[in-house]
Symmetry: C2
Subunit: 503 residues, 2 copies
Amino acid sequence: MSRDKGITSRSENYAEWYNDLVKAADLADNSVVRGCMVIKPNGYAVWERLRDALDNMFKDSGHKNAYFPLLIPKSFLSKEAEHVDGFAKECAVVTHHRLMNDPNGTGVVVDPEARLEEELIIRPTSETIIWHSYKNWIQSYRDLPLLINQWANVMRWELRPRLFLRTAEFLWQEGHTAHATYEEAEEETLTILEIYRRAAEEWMCVPVVCGIKSDGEKFAGADHTYTIEAMTQDLRAIQAGTSHHLGQNFAKAFDVTFQTKEGKLEHVYATSWGVSTRLIGTLLMVHSDDNGFVCPPKLAPTQLVIIPIGRGEDREKVIAKANEIADQVSSTKWAGSKIRVEIDDREKESPGFKFNYWEMRGACLRMEIGPRDLEAGNCVIARRDTGDKETITLSDVVSAVTQGLDGMQKNLFERAVAMRTENTIRVDTWDEFQKVFEGEGGAGFVVAHWDGTQETEDAISAATKATIRCIPLTPLEPSDAEPGVCVYSGKPSKQRVVFARAY
Amino acid sequence: MSRDKGITSRSENYAEWYNDLVKAADLADNSVVRGCMVIKPNGYAVWERLRDALDNMFKDSGHKNAYFPLLIPKSFLSKEAEHVDGFAKECAVVTHHRLMNDPNGTGVVVDPEARLEEELIIRPTSETIIWHSYKNWIQSYRDLPLLINQWANVMRWELRPRLFLRTAEFLWQEGHTAHATYEEAEEETLTILEIYRRAAEEWMCVPVVCGIKSDGEKFAGADHTYTIEAMTQDLRAIQAGTSHHLGQNFAKAFDVTFQTKEGKLEHVYATSWGVSTRLIGTLLMVHSDDNGFVCPPKLAPTQLVIIPIGRGEDREKVIAKANEIADQVSSTKWAGSKIRVEIDDREKESPGFKFNYWEMRGACLRMEIGPRDLEAGNCVIARRDTGDKETITLSDVVSAVTQGLDGMQKNLFERAVAMRTENTIRVDTWDEFQKVFEGEGGAGFVVAHWDGTQETEDAISAATKATIRCIPLTPLEPSDAEPGVCVYSGKPSKQRVVFARAY
């Protein structure tokens, strides 16, 4: 346990560390409804900023938001056969539309008279209901491309839920676009993949491998799937976002055609793509430590916390100065937004308690200021990621804060890149491959040759619980793109792919 | 029908006009799921701006966003008796959590093995699930006030749905706050009411009467309810937002207590408040006309549309100039955001078609520019609300556009105030009261004395279908606050109240 924070250390038990962290950082709670979570204000604030960053990038690339119904007629899920086989089974089913007073008691019961003719499913994803609408929206090549995104809640009945990482209900965005040609749809999936990479790397400080999924791991109903894959501190992979080229599958299932410039009738090409509140789990898994939440400054609910120190008469003076500093800093913009400052002037809590408290909650910078600092015209600023403390002249506070935020945003990314580099290895024999995955836990990224077949993929996964995370679009090292022989079958391989145990 | 727009005129059939309008303006569609709507990009863009305006005001007054589960255990709805009696009956009930392949066919069926132990309800509102959480969040007076807001979808099975105005699923925000004293909770409800008034009047250009609901019209489970009430063009009232003082009812039902400064244990005081996508319906009902959507500039998806006119060589020159103007205008800020400009350079459509198209969709200003304008260094700007056209020197375009937007924002509000004033009457006899409501439709606001009893309220409503919309906080005219005799019973009345037929 870390000091008195109630956080299990990562080395002791990583899974428990994660659960303790989410509680200690006040990010989310388990709900009374199995598998569903309550996202608390400190967690929701991170999501809001990430959402806005993504939303701006979607809009800058020509996408518009819309909103489609929560409930999907059961029959829709049967329309795209691969899609329903793939994953649509564990989902919440609405069968009735009314409650009534319990004739035998004081509570309420379901009114048996109010049974729906057709059951409705709470959307696990919205391809089917959206493509049902698109049939009416698309007639001609002039209606294309159709570039729509939706911010919504979705539900998949999870058997082993974990806060943020895998919950029955989660928040996400789902983009659904329609195009005149295969090539345009392909360009769209890659445009989005790049937006996801930027959100991960530039906002979350999480380096990702961009790649294509093997057929075994692609989205049910997709032609092919692109992914961004991150590495957690326990050396597993985590799929952080996916962008699917759906070919004409959904257009055919829902009969969505358009008249080409030449007057022919053709099915449109589709893409879909999404990231979810799982990104918050990814963020936590990559940066946080045994003292609590370490949050990239661009997303942090609190970028600077000021802790005034002193009692009695001194206290008032120090608090007055703290307020002055807070006003000054919070009217300054950093990375496009006003700097988010809190003053913790609670009287009954000790400075030590407050240091702990804000470390857990992920404040990026902590300023300590007491009567002696005041006299000397100084304050102390500590950084959450490195623990470095620096004495700053009060007149330099604003530039010290912006430099501190810059430095932390940069350092978190570099630290995560270094961790990934250190834990990415190239393996060329099956013996060595098995040895790497001997233990139960994560073993980093293993970059190895694969013969491209489903059988080999399945055999490797059965033997090691490692899966192909992706075939990188850009080789991690130039030689990864050279041909070789499969680590398992010895058959020819076009390039190395990334294996890992995954969340 | 208006020209060839397919919009029934308001005078012909107001209800059909509304439905035609929503379609013609491309704001929303009926969905295949009964009562649910698809909010299309043009409609969602209006909602996004209104949401951001509200969200900024909530945050400026100390509220934070959070997210609570979509599903509520059935038993929770029985906990606050008045609440469940009030409205929680028509709601979507989840009974199963899995589908399976149909053993007798190709589709999917509900897996009978996957029946939930306790049915779950899709939230019709979240008081119960949120107060269940608050029990853990609140221990001491130091945890208060707790000021939380949630943006979410909710569901109430509507028997007679209408797009935006009354749909089974809708989007809204719901605030849920906890306070140490009755007075603080009261202050909160009024702070929010003022935010709602500002959203309506300053953003939507919709004048509202702020008042308190009679006991017969208050929220189920509330101590009392404040409301903002608007008047539509067919002279009905529409409740646009409500702010409830819940007293200690929910705190008692969910046993949420706190330790006071003096060390005593007390139940907290609560408020809840919400506005929804119904506001879009309100907006439409107040401002739009037989030609389509009239949208307040601050909320309009398109503030300026540029329509280049000309063919062949001229066309290119004009389009180049249009793009230049668009760049210039869209880099200018108005009311805090960059001006939203579209160029309609579709080659196959006539200028007349485009004028109609953008009138329907609610573009605030339309700029026409052709080769002759170019030569003269001019363009023409037309305003959507008044139809006024003005020739503008090209060098003055930016100021003409900002003035046009200013003017329209102001005019829409003033026009709506004038309509309301014209259709607000004071009635002092029951004969006259009945006469006003003789017809079937709206009859404006009738400001009359009421004896304060439920019986009178019920009798008036039974006789005229008019209900008490509110007891205004500020009298519409000073004399409204003077005592008098009830228009129905002749008994003493403290003040006049507002009656109307309502949506």
